[in-house]
């Protein structure tokens, strides 16, 4: 449909930004209690709109659509903060020399965000089995003992978790050089 593409025009996006940036930032500030983050997420909301312009067509109320995008970004923001905080806490326990580089850590946190997002909708035991195998390199029999199930069951869980990732279109970062 030609009509729904019209939003991609820079002029229209410009108008949208001018009309809606103000209240959106105010709304985000109230949600987040922080001006800086509200500013960042306001920009992110419009970036999202630029990347996926088709999602907004002329018939839809831009306010509702922007709020939906922003809500998702707020949830992601808290999730990221929680993951970063827990990660930083764990890193504090390590001597400086044993810590991965800052870039590497940033990539890991990013990956954990994606892993968390994808595995959140998977049942607890398959998720646990999948993580124990990948992060802790445990054998199926060790995992079975931990989860109180047979090795055969662990194998089933592994297949189930992988299928879940595959069908959810997981795109984890490839291993670092």
């Amino acid at each position: 449909m030609a009509g729904s593409d019209s939003i991609a025009q820079p002029q229209l996006l410009h108008t949208l930004y001018a009309d809606h940036q103000g209240w959106l930032q105010g709304w985000l500030r109230k949600k987040l209690g922080c001006g800086f983050t509200a500013e960042d997420l306001t920009q992110d909301t419009f970036v999202r709109l630029m990347v996926r312009p088709r999602e907004l067509d002329a018939r839809q109320d831009p306010r509702a659509h922007l709020t939906t995008i922003a809500k998702g970004l707020v949830i992601d923001h808290w999730r990221r903060a929680e993951i970063e905080r827990a990660w930083a806490r764990a890193m504090m326990e390590r001597p400086e020399a044993a810590q991965p580089s800052a870039e590497h850590q940033a990539i890991i946190v990013e990956t954990l965000m994606e892993v968390d997002r994808i595995l959140a909708s998977l049942a607890a035991k398959p998720r646990e089995a999948f993580l124990l195998a990948h992060l802790h390199d445990l054998t199926y029999s060790d995992i079975g003992v931990r989860l109180g199930v047979s090795e055969r069951m662990v194998k089933k869980y592994m297949a189930q978790a992988m299928l879940h990732c595959l069908s959810a279109g997981a795109t984890f970062r490839a291993a670092l050089p």
Partner: protein, 335 residues
């Protein structure tokens, strides 16, 4: 239910299923030679199979990226899970309030209780209250007026989360065989105790930390913010990004634990702002006398008495407009 992205759209679901099965077989470690052969045949049979397998490998390598710090990765994922639970709990509470009215459903209630238990204990004080608590590890904490703190101890750490108000913490060596770190979170950052007695106060936009014994390490929450260790006798304020230069810790800072507010040459306006933390309603100051200096020890449990003492010491009157609306003016101004 799962939204297929462009990347997987082209591969039939049954192929993805087979790839996941093969992954589970090969990952088990105990693979017979003929099984490996069958897997290679499967790979060679169809370009789609190869494609699906590439994706399996990419996912597997991606997840394993955090392998060099498995415990950190696990606890980060656990933290994200807890956050999700908290959000679900809030949703449940809101839904229950909206739909059930007075009648809680029992099952719901248990679910909520279990979730709350998993999240750790919460302690609160109202305005004008203060409280002393002994925690499971022997640590003692004092909550000042209008304070909310969560105690979340687990196998890896002893964590306090300060939501608002002010705390004094006297840490105790851990009772566990492997000592867990003692950490306080404010909205702006993490403070890790290194054998200590210290106070933390949550302001609207920053946190104030004062250390009376030992040392405390601050890690502000913003990405890449620098950490700093604060020593005894120092106080700092910090935002998620920055930590102020340390100043000398004022001696009167802990008077609240004795139910007192000690003013050492404090401007009246600032004194009243402090006193109003312990009192419901508005406690204002006429700008004309805002700069008067206040000296003395005032009881915070009896703010009425504190105001009477103020009237005796300075040429001011506390004008009670309404029970919860008091303005302090120059005594000559009050008719």
């Amino acid at each position: 239910m799962h939204h297929n992205h462009d990347a997987t759209q082209d591969i039939p679901y049954s192929t993805l299923e087979q790839a996941a099965e093969w992954f589970a077989v090969l990952r088990s470690g105990a693979v017979e030679e003929d099984e490996r052969k069958r897997w290679q045949d499967w790979l060679a049979r169809d370009a789609g199979n190869r494609q699906a397998w590439d994706r399996v490998e990419a996912i597997s390598q991606g997840v394993a990226i955090a392998r060099e710090a498995p415990d950190a990765a696990s606890s980060a994922l656990h933290a994200a899970g807890q956050l999700r639970k908290r959000r679900k709990l809030i949703k449940t509470l809101v839904l229950t309030a909206a739909t059930a009215g007075v009648g809680w459903q029992l099952a719901r209630q248990d679910e909520v209780r279990a979730t709350i238990a998993a999240l750790g204990a919460s302690h609160r004080t109202g305005i004008g209250e203060s409280r002393e608590l002994a925690l499971a590890d022997g640590t003692r904490i004092w909550l000042n007026t209008d304070t909310a703190v969560d105690v979340r101890f687990d196998a890896t750490q002893r964590l306090l989360v300060l939501h608002k108000g002010e705390l004094l913490i006297e840490t105790h060596p851990d009772v566990e065989r492997r000592p867990r770190p003692f950490v306080v979170h404010s909205r702006q950052g993490a403070m890790r105790a290194l054998g200590t007695r210290f106070t933390v106060r949550q302001y609207d936009t920053h946190t104030r930390l004062g250390v009376t014994q030992g040392r405390v390490e601050i890690t502000p929450f913003a990405h890449n913010a620098a950490r700093r260790v604060i020593g005894a006798g120092q106080e700092v304020r910090f935002s998620p990004r920055d930590i102020s230069a340390p100043g000398a810790l004022p001696a009167e800072g802990l008077a609240w634990t004795q139910g007192m507010l000690i003013a050492e040459d404090l401007p009246l306006e600032q004194f009243l702002a402090e006193l109003s933390r312990y009192r419901r309603g508005h406690l204002g100051c006429d700008p004309a006398i805002a700069g008067l200096r206040v000296v003395g020890a005032f009881p915070v449990g009896e703010t009425g008495q504190a105001l009477a003492m103020l009237e005796a010491a300075l040429p001011v009157r506390a004008k009670v407009v309404l029970p919860w609306w008091v303005t302090v003016k120059a005594s000559g101004d009050v008719a």
